[in-house]
């Protein structure tokens, strides 16, 4: 047991060191941008994990939440002229509000219906952002101000990387505490056996809305950071395809596991780069790989770890014998 804990601590430290070194490896700005994207998507997927991974309610409207967060930051900083820091508070409030507004009605619908509701929500938000005048229409919002920390402007991808990495570490810390608390267990309980949840004295509607709200707050915060990182937002980013990608990240990495969420977010963010050598066949191959991965490895990359270990042990034993 203790051995396990130390090995876990060592691997976490190793990952953190690698994460800190990455910007010093001389990647160009483009690659660094993808790294930052991976960090941002990690936050969203960690949020999505609460509702879709743990509670088992399929939410395909997360791109809209992401978009609303981004637009809240973009509009409040450019139109109201408030600081990005203050805007982040608004963004978090926005996430909370979406969670309540969407969460309570979604208690009435189950299964497929919930999925369809969230899809409809996604489309309504995207179409409204695209067509309303005060959101800038198709052009979106430009020249969104950057964050300042102690007079230090977060403007380059590398600076953004460190800035968002710190936030992600904080988010992971909170997520870890929730997952390994009675709340996390209650979320999984809802997925495993809805009928027994209330006999444990847990209010089902409340726990579902909590999971929902957590996911929307995470999504909105990631959106707010995204707006300031990119400097502009456009409604065409927040399509249903993006929502689908988030769900894919969650499954490919591994549900209910923090490491899985982050691995998934990075793998899917980097997939275009990794498969670039395929040229025109890239998109096709990518979709095919993901589809087969979903069917043949539904528990995600995280589940492969123990399998590989097992395989090694087996080979080792055979060699010994």
């Amino acid at each position: 047991m203790k051995n396990l804990r130390t090995s876990k601590a060592i691997s976490i430290a190793a990952v953190l060191i690698v994460a800190l070194i990455v910007p010093q490896l001389g990647f160009n700005d483009y690659i660094m941008t993808i790294f930052v994207q991976g960090l941002l998507y990690s936050i969203i997927v960690l949020g999505l994990n609460f509702i879709t991974g743990m509670t088992g309610q399929m939410n395909l409207g997360n791109a809209a939440v992401f978009g609303l967060g981004a637009y809240t930051a973009a509009l409040s900083t450019t139109k109201l002229g408030i600081s990005p820091w203050l805007a982040m508070i608004l963004v978090a409030l926005m996430g909370w509000l979406i969670g309540l507004v969407l969460g309570y009605p979604s208690l009435r619908v189950k299964g497929v219906y919930l999925t369809l509701t969230t899809i409809a929500f996604n489309e309504i938000v995207r179409l409204c952002l695209q067509n309303m005048e005060w959101t800038g229409g198709v052009g979106g919002v430009r020249s969104i101000p950057r964050f300042h920390i102690f007079g230090f402007l977060i403007n380059t991808p590398v600076r953004n990387y460190y800035f968002i990495l710190i936030i992600l570490v904080f988010v992971i810390f909170i997520t870890y505490r929730i997952i390994h608390s009675k709340y996390g267990r209650a979320f999984i309980a809802v997925r495993d056996n809805v009928d027994a949840v209330e006999t444990c004295g847990i209010k089902l509607s409340r726990i579902k809305v909590q999971a929902f709200t957590l996911s929307t707050i995470y999504g909105a915060i990631a959106g707010g950071l995204y707006a300031s990182f990119m400097g502009y937002v456009s409604p065409t980013t927040f399509t249903m395809n993006l929502s689908m990608s988030f769900a894919v990240m969650l499954i490919i990495g591994g549900r209910c596991s923090i490491a899985g969420c982050i691995i998934g977010a990075f793998v899917i963010s980097f997939a275009p780069e990794l498969l670039r050598f395929l040229g025109t066949y890239y998109q096709f191959t990518y979709a095919l790989i993901i589809m087969l991965a979903l069917i043949f490895n539904p528990n995600g990359l995280v589940a492969l770890g123990p399998k590989i270990k097992h395989l090694f042990v087996k080979i080792f034993h055979k060699a010994e014998a």
Binding site: P105, V109, Y113, L116, A120, Q130, Q283, A287, M291, I295
Partner: protein, 289 residues
């Protein structure tokens, strides 16, 4: 004014039937495999490409044979997909099954790009032209869509009620275990449902080809609204699907007179959410215990 309203209603009915057929097509798979097939829009798109890009080109604009070839090819493709994807997926968590169908859609999408290129195509003279009935001018395509949809719906109903494989499909939809105990070959019945569903997708591809420019995103909205139509009409039954589709098509067309046309799509989705919250069983609910 009257002519305009009638015109809007006629084209609303035509679009409504498109939505309705879309709803029927995914309802078939939902009933038989318990799976929401998100690949259906891309299947329709793929059929449109197959129709315009391959068969019309080969057959020198012989429309009817081209339509038939498209439908047959897509139905066979459906059987293949059923065997390798849908039937194994029915035991999976819904999340994974749904995402797998989404990725199947992407595979089809990218496949279409590889085969036919990314430039949009047009259906040429297929169903081109206008007709005037009692002072109401409408496109020939609309009339064809309405007539063919009605025929398909009636045909499907007769097939389900009167033939053995059709009744087997109903049994499988209601209770797989009981159906297999009664000697119904569940997997074969599933494959048949998927094949019919894909055949309807093929037909829709041909019918949609003259309405939209043939390109990757041509029916994305139609697909989503097909879902909306299914829910509004009552999830899981074909009559409801058509009713929901018609309601949706007519309402969103008429609404264009009141709200700016760019919000047309918003109306459909708002209607969907309203129905889910107020009348989750839809207009026509299936009697299930």
């Amino acid at each position: 004014m009257f002519a305009m309203v009638t015109q809007l209603i006629v084209s609303g009915v035509a679009t409504g039937f498109i939505y309705g057929l879309t709803a029927i097509e995914y309802t078939l798979i939902w009933n038989s495999c318990g799976l929401l097939n998100f690949a259906h829009t891309k299947t329709i798109m793929f059929s449109a490409y197959l129709f315009v890009g391959t068969f019309l080109a080969i057959m020198a604009n012989a429309y009817l044979p081209a339509v038939i070839c498209t439908i047959i090819c897509i139905a066979l493709f459906g059987v293949l997909i059923a065997l390798i994807i849908f039937i194994p997926l029915r035991n999976f968590t819904r999340l994974i099954a749904v995402m797998a169908t989404v990725m199947l859609g992407t595979v089809l999408n990218e496949g279409a790009v590889l085969i036919w290129g990314s430039a949009p195509m047009s259906a040429g003279g297929f169903l081109d032209g206008r007709v005037e009935i009692g002072g109401v001018v409408t496109s020939l395509a609309n009339i064809y869509i309405i007539v063919i949809s009605v025929l398909v719906t009636i045909g499907l109903r007769l097939f389900m009620k009167k033939t053995k494989p059709g009744r087997a499909m109903i049994c499988v939809a209601q209770d797989k275990v009981a159906a297999s105990l009664m000697g119904v070959e569940v997997k074969r019945s599933m494959a048949l449902s998927v094949a019919i569903s894909f055949a309807i997708c093929g037909l829709l591809g041909c019918l949609c080809a003259p309405l939209f420019r043939v390109q990757q995103t041509m029916v994305d909205m139609v697909g989503l609204k097909g879902f909306a139509a299914g829910v509004i009409g009552g999830f899981g039954n074909t009559t409801g699907a058509i009713a929901g589709g018609l309601l949706l098509g007519v309402v969103e067309n008429l609404a264009c007179m009141v709200v700016p046309s760019m919000y047309k799509d918003v109306i459909a989705f708002t209607l969907l959410i309203l129905f889910l919250l107020v009348k989750p069983n839809g207009l026509i609910s299936v009697k299930k215990d």
